[in-house]
Symmetry: C2
Subunit: 713 residues, 2 copies
Amino acid sequence: MTTSLKPLLNPQSVAIIGASSAPERIGGRPLHYMLKHGFKGAIYPVNPRRDRVQGLPAYPTIADVPEKVDCAIIAVPAKDVVDTMRACVSAGVKSAVLFSSGFAEAGHDGATAQAEVASIAREGRLRLLGPNCLGVINSDHNWFGTFANGPAESRPATGGSVGIVSQSGAYGSHIYISAQARRIGVRYWVTTGNEADIDVAEMIDFYAHDPEVRVIMAYVEGVKDGPRMRRALADARSARKPVIIMKVGGSAIGAKAAATHTASVVGRDSIYDAVFRQYGAYRAQTTQEMVDVAYACQFGRYPKGRRTCLQSISGGAGVQMADVAEDTGLRVPPLPDSLQAKIKALIPQASPLNPVDFTANAVNDPEIMPRNLDYTLSSDLFDGHVVYLTSVPGSPFTRVSCLDAFRRIREAHPDAVIVMSMLVADEVIADYEALGLPCFSDPAVAVRVMATLADFQEHFERPAANADLAAAGEEMPDAPKDIISEYGAKRILAACGLTIPQELFVSYGSAARDAAGRFPRPVALKIASPDIPHKTEMGGVLLNVEGVDAISDGVDTLLARARTAVPDARIEGVLISEMAPAGVEVIVGMTHDKLFGPVVMVGLGGVFVEVLKDVSFRLAPVGLAEAHRMISELRGAPILNGARGAAPVNREALALAISRLSVFADKNAGLIESIDINPLIVSPTDAIAVDGLIVPSTSPAIASVAHKEDEQD
Amino acid sequence: MTTSLKPLLNPQSVAIIGASSAPERIGGRPLHYMLKHGFKGAIYPVNPRRDRVQGLPAYPTIADVPEKVDCAIIAVPAKDVVDTMRACVSAGVKSAVLFSSGFAEAGHDGATAQAEVASIAREGRLRLLGPNCLGVINSDHNWFGTFANGPAESRPATGGSVGIVSQSGAYGSHIYISAQARRIGVRYWVTTGNEADIDVAEMIDFYAHDPEVRVIMAYVEGVKDGPRMRRALADARSARKPVIIMKVGGSAIGAKAAATHTASVVGRDSIYDAVFRQYGAYRAQTTQEMVDVAYACQFGRYPKGRRTCLQSISGGAGVQMADVAEDTGLRVPPLPDSLQAKIKALIPQASPLNPVDFTANAVNDPEIMPRNLDYTLSSDLFDGHVVYLTSVPGSPFTRVSCLDAFRRIREAHPDAVIVMSMLVADEVIADYEALGLPCFSDPAVAVRVMATLADFQEHFERPAANADLAAAGEEMPDAPKDIISEYGAKRILAACGLTIPQELFVSYGSAARDAAGRFPRPVALKIASPDIPHKTEMGGVLLNVEGVDAISDGVDTLLARARTAVPDARIEGVLISEMAPAGVEVIVGMTHDKLFGPVVMVGLGGVFVEVLKDVSFRLAPVGLAEAHRMISELRGAPILNGARGAAPVNREALALAISRLSVFADKNAGLIESIDINPLIVSPTDAIAVDGLIVPSTSPAIASVAHKEDEQD
């Protein structure tokens, strides 16, 4: 897959079908920009009505071009696209950029035409970008297969390490221009449009494997191939490349707009959140945020932990930075007394606690600043530094000395992760960037980005979500073919390795009498019928029943109630279950997502799930560590630590239940619609599935989904 | 108060004590900048060692200056400040800017010196800014009473309407430079430093009353005078001036740093949040955000509601904007069919639902865009428009026509609230700003700011928090002088107008027997003793007791337990209370905040308060509308609507309880430490205070706090 994109991303020869002599026209712009910027390969304009186009010899058809081109830019009306594509395939063209619109985005006929185009490409082994896209840029080879003015006018310096992919052309341009204004080195820029062939996931995958790319930015409206996106994100993480994603369409209105705008399948937003979290991608809410994070990442330095030294020329800014640090989970440990004393000796006015307020005195004397920072940089107490200098590095009085101080600091600490905040002109910033020091005007943003860098490092270091699976899929039972009773569901859960209560199944009251002796403690009685999935509503559950007579009577009562309430129900009998010990009610479940396959869920019972929607998702399967991360994400998690005087519950048992359920769901991907364990009672010792509901898939044909993170093409 | 600041903010004559001939020195800079920018008043350098300073005649002492100056800049060492201040008072100086450091921020001796300086100023009727401050700028009079290079070098155009106040000098400069880079017209800039006299609240108050100021920006580390800040925010709101505040020190580390940095009393962060919310101030988390909001506010147009039309040249950006709109509570109603048809007829490629994707076609033809926007602007269906144009307005092909289109749009709709998003050069933006169209590069930020403008409009329109008080303070009972029993506390709450259960007080079991007949329903029994505030811990509560015998026995049991558990306790007897009807457990309370006085609180019982810290605060007193706002802010508020099949509870009764408690707390400000009503059972019909605890203030000398919003000096 990866290699087949090279003719598109780095072509040695290109044809422009529909090439125009007018540089401002869509068919004229790619040629104009390639000539202007100096494309390094061969260019063949194709235009049957002209001998020369923008000074280059033109060819009547693609068949007349004297070599097999790597990439054809197709800028012809929609009605001519099918013929043009056929001609390209015949001429051995390896890839094409299809600008033309009027396909899937334009309705049913367009979708049919797009399917034909896709089929021509697939059969002709031609990799296709578009249709309805703004094209591609490779800034290092001056390859401008685009008619987007903004990006093409403002080409960045070569040597960039950032790959951008956007489903939206216009917004892709926006991101390119914003990134470049921020001095982000964009190497590749690809807009995927309608994604008849190449989609955003394949581009992320390409960037994950391309040695020139170190940072990936993606603008996504809807993912078409969930498993491919999953693999791409997993590969990027393995390659230690940060993925910064903006996924729009999260709101109801937004999702509707996205559906009219593209032909994408828009998955539920919380599932996307879970996927990005699972694979350590950063989900940006605004372009500002996206650009801030990508900018910092391109320096390639990530703190090994969250211990952060905040150094500020202003006490006020130091306070602000400390607030943000706490908010983002950075640690700001106070300096030890010995270090404080050293700094005080160096700068008597300093407030050296952490944040260190080094005052203007430190900056006015170029000897002081390096020594001050050397104390904390050498101390081994911090993983990262954020230094706030306001406008001082740009002042005519201190510009030279301040830069010199930081040059010495960088020489002494070549690998230190230092993020700067300063309010100065771009040319001053460039000097600091050359020292590997990212600069932000807003100190709050500088701290926030440091936390994000630390997050990325944690994601890079963390084993895959499925690395420590609690059980192998082969050991798991099969999914039921039909809807089954609670008793049957719990037998399956037990076979998965979950703990269920001691229970017995009886079909009439006197059998209960015989069985009752085996339950010295109170029991729950529940009607068992595949036709009564929601038992409580019809009075089919009795709790805390104790003693032989009461149990026997209770069984009779439930059988009678069920026959009255649902006369046609297949009634299997009554389930007698030992009441679970006191604990926290947890809901563990699984649902089949059309895009990504089986998704596991955990939430706390009561108001947490129902009122606060406090749940955590992951794609199955997950190991114990990832299950623990899911639990920690719950706002109600403190309950598990023993809120209101209770003992802490057994989180390990809860994580195990989640993991085992996820392996079962994964093994039976496509065969199960959903599973509810509600409640799972988590006590200080156990996690007991008190109730269980397994709903088999009504469409068992759903394709099984590939899951292994390490799987690659 | 307001008028007394005029000599400082708009002096006709200034003296510079410690004036230096060297323009780069602290004593030289103010003179340098006033000469450079052309200060409109008289300048008198004071320097005993020179005849002339920077070309102006110098005077040996302030007494030698030939007129009584409005403002003296004092740039002398800390040790000379007291004498200088005395000389200024003798010379009739009306105000002073005190740059010198070495006062309260430097420890105990400095604090003593500062108190002396403050006392000299107060007695001499000299208004003082500082010490340890960076001074003041009034850009319209070229008054540069500052040694801050950054702001003074980059003075903005005149005619600005934004007033900035900052406790931090360095960060105040940062905000000034950031604001100016964003083309915000800064009229006043004041840094208050140690606030020996003028504080941040007084400056907000000044801006609230100054007709030249329309937008207020404040950077706050800690408020010294809570009631004054309260009045200032109330006055700004009454004057319909948005206040954009950055309050730092919210984190534990940050608060510590703030305390070492200033001599401020840092109140608890949640109280600050409540105060800002109560008075409609916008609390910014970053400088970017602060600047974005202030920039938009200076255009002075606020949408009358939240109905927003999103117009976008890019479908992708439209989706993103819709997401943000939903997230920020803007409404994005779909266009009616008739309007959709009109737009489709005008732009066949458009997707006119809302967001309206008008496509590049609308912008390429200057006739289309005005008609397209006219449809929705004229429709009366929308309160505001956000229009995303990416880089098109900056393109050489469309720059003129696009601007012309918006000029016509503005002529047709002079009052329309339109926020633009475009990615173009500053000089292009200036053209749109001249049409009253704020421009943001990030469409997500544009939408977010539109929501903030709508918030401000709501705040401006909303009556004061105490406008519809549920009771007047005079009708309220007095606070107890000493800690009292639950029975006594509930009697007071009943006198406040809260509902309490039917209850009776007995001192021995046989009295209970006589009383029991009056309780046909189950009762709660609770030990009553001023020495046992926490009854449950010692087994002093029995619930759901029913019948004459059980009640009588229960009373005996409790009396015996209390005598055993707390032998010295004054035991008053046992309280027999009818059990409250089923309802939602709510906690309503009040606490005395050292800075702001009595604060009322509401939260839901159970996990909401204890685990999720889901509470809402306001300064007392609050009326019904504000109490309802408090309730709505709770994350668990859906519970009150009838979660899990329950009937909705009586929110009106809950709001009434909050309001009445707040009036009681306000009337007895300083006399009550805290009140807990836990629980208040809110049922579909009532809100019943089932338990009550009132803790009188241990220091009854706490000054009563002024509260009336309309009160002014």
